[in-house]
Amino acid sequence: MNKQLLLGAEAIAQAALDAGISGVYAYPGTPSTEITEYIQKSPQARDPFVRSAWATNEKTAYEAALGMSFAGKRSLVCMKHVGLNVAADAFMNSSVTGIHGGLVIVVADDPSMHSSQNEQDSRVYGKFALIPVLEPANQQETYQITRYAFDLSEQTALPVLLRIPTRLSHSRAVVTKTETRPQNRLDPSKEKGKWILLPANARRNYQQLLEKQQELVLLSESSPYNKVKEGIGNKAVIAFGIGYNYTMEIISSYELQIPLLKISQYPLPEEKIKAFCNQYDDILIVEEGYPVYEELLKGYFGNRKFRGRLDGTLPRTGELSPALLAKALGLQTPEVKTIPAIVVPRPPMLCQGCGHRDLFDALNMAMESYPHKQVFGDIGCYTLGAMPPYSVISTCVDMGASITMAKGAADAGIRPAVCVIGDSTFTHSGMTGLLDAVNDRSPVTIIISDNDTTAMTGGQNSAGTGRFFDICKGLGVEEEHIRLIIPLKKNLDENRAILKEELDYEGVSVIISQRECVQTLKKQKKQCKKTSLLPE
């Protein structure tokens, strides 16, 4: 079966398997989760074996991928854009060490912030680390470019960053696959010095990385993914990654003859860009994300022939669309129907029967008597507790921030200093913050809302399931202040009382609010029914 309907994310996964990876490392995060899930389900990943279990966070994932590369085998590491902030230490230094077996890092950006706290553009990280960046436009190209990424990585001995936006990751098309190549054999790197970033080695490696840049530019010049589509007139477009699709949609539907340069491989092919730009007086720069290369081409003194997100020809924020492109090219768009006022928003909400709901009811009651009612929140379904009817969560910043922000607020004098963090977020980035609070004897109440899973991204395994009491005790929380509650309606009064006791305690307390996610429970019941393990 060489033709398959695949999401962009799945096209990456299939291509990585066909490119001969020995492992994928990832922490779930929309819109990147489906890459790893595809490999976990693929029969092709069983023989020869491709390891694919979830990592505790993006940094541990990245380092394990680098270790596999050190051993000579190919590895894939996947994350959402903000995950790269977590992995950034390993990522930045891995461009200085370089790699041995091919290492491709896929970062799924989320312009328009469909499921994210910001819309940072990962191409900036690629430029920062001085490594090749690839940005495919469609699903078939995503497949091919992923295979190419592993070759490019082994050829340049550098990690390669592959960037996709939500719209490509979560859109399906027919993809034709090519033959599968074998995995690399175990062949540990013999270049010992390059992996030890002591200053003397690091300086030498960094110099070599800088010297490699010209080779990377030449590779971009000859890359089949950077190409010119000829046209007529003195206006032109440079479209990056998925920006090419929206541009081509307008070119084909309006039957335009506008010249177009498509860029999908970085660093920029300097000669190709220069030759193209010299021919035209008016060039629209189409980037999905930040105006990273528009800024570069425009220059400090603002060459006016370049238009794009910086001068308002395209909006500064949010994802692109065919309509935005038509407008930017000065075309008339048809009048469209409007949404009648009777239609009201339908925002996402916590599921019926969800344990977070019962926790929030108890917490709101326990907090009633305090003048300060803020609760530091974190990243997960329970962030929805910020909305009515609960309106209980006051902050949502980054993974693990609930504990450390509560600690800082407690240091400043806020009482009670209370936070809610999910089980998977706690193991991802909460444990170190808890240790800070313990060492400082900070009066904080940490509620781990444990639903046995990484729920918001679709129910992936959670790294600490069944061990939260032991983890907290091990980190030094006093045993009598690690309390377990079961968030159910019938336990409301008891839970309120336990919460109140710990809110009043002038030290570190942890409340583990433990009940399985209703979505994963439903899935499991279905699975059990299928295999007849459960009586009706």
Binding site: V174, S321, M349
Partner: protein, 191 residues
């Protein structure tokens, strides 16, 4: 030939099943397909939609341009109106009449149905009743697909083949019930 279809509903209603069946049929016919869908937080009981494009020519944008959808196929009446700016002047709305009221300020249903009738040529389908008649209430989304079949640009027999493939690992009985729902939906719409 090019068909642009918005499939709309509420997270958890199974709009991706409909999309997958149309995708399969189009792929079997050797057509180009693009289908953008919503994953992540919005799936938790929020409004969700899928942009589905099929064509004999290469498709560029994963998103349907405004004013270019031939069909809005909605599993929920209010959701059918949310995507009106995408509907082409001659486009059709096929929607289920059964409302999914998980918000406090859900609008008056009669008013909603009137708005739908005024907005475009439309088919209002009691999908729940059809699915029950077909033998399983869970087949309501396939019943909706049946009702919308004439607007997909593909023969009903191709969609039926895709239904059989899609439910292949669920057994003969489930395939038969879904085919039944599809045909009943199609007949209902033709009346």
């Amino acid at each position: 030939m090019q068909k642009n279809i918005i499939i709309a509903g509420v997270g958890g209603q199974g709009i991706l099943t409909i999309a997958s069946i149309i995708d399969l049929a189009a792929m079997n016919l050797g057509l180009h397909v693009k289908q953008a869908e919503v994953h992540g937080m919005s799936q938790r009981g929020g409004a969700v939609e899928s942009h589905l494009r099929i064509s004999t020519e290469e498709i560029y944008s994963d998103l349907i341009p405004l004013g270019k959808a031939d069909l809005i196929l909605s599993i929920e009446p209010m959701e059918s109106l949310r995507y009106l700016p995408f509907l082409s002047p001659g486009g059709v709305i096929v929607t289920s009449t059964e409302s999914y009221e998980n918000i406090r300020n859900y609008p008056d249903k009669t008013g909603l149905l009137n708005h739908i009738r005024e907005s475009a040529s439309c088919l209002l389908i009691d999908a729940g009743a059809i699915a029950t008649e077909a033998g399983n209430v869970k087949t309501y989304n396939v019943a909706m697909l049946g009702a919308a079949a004439p607007y997909t640009g593909m023969e009903a027999t191709e969609l039926e083949k895709a239904i059989a493939t899609y439910f292949a690992d669920k057994g003969e009985k489930i395939i038969a019930t879904n085919l039944n729902a599809f045909r009943l939906g199609k007949d209902y719409a033709q009346k």
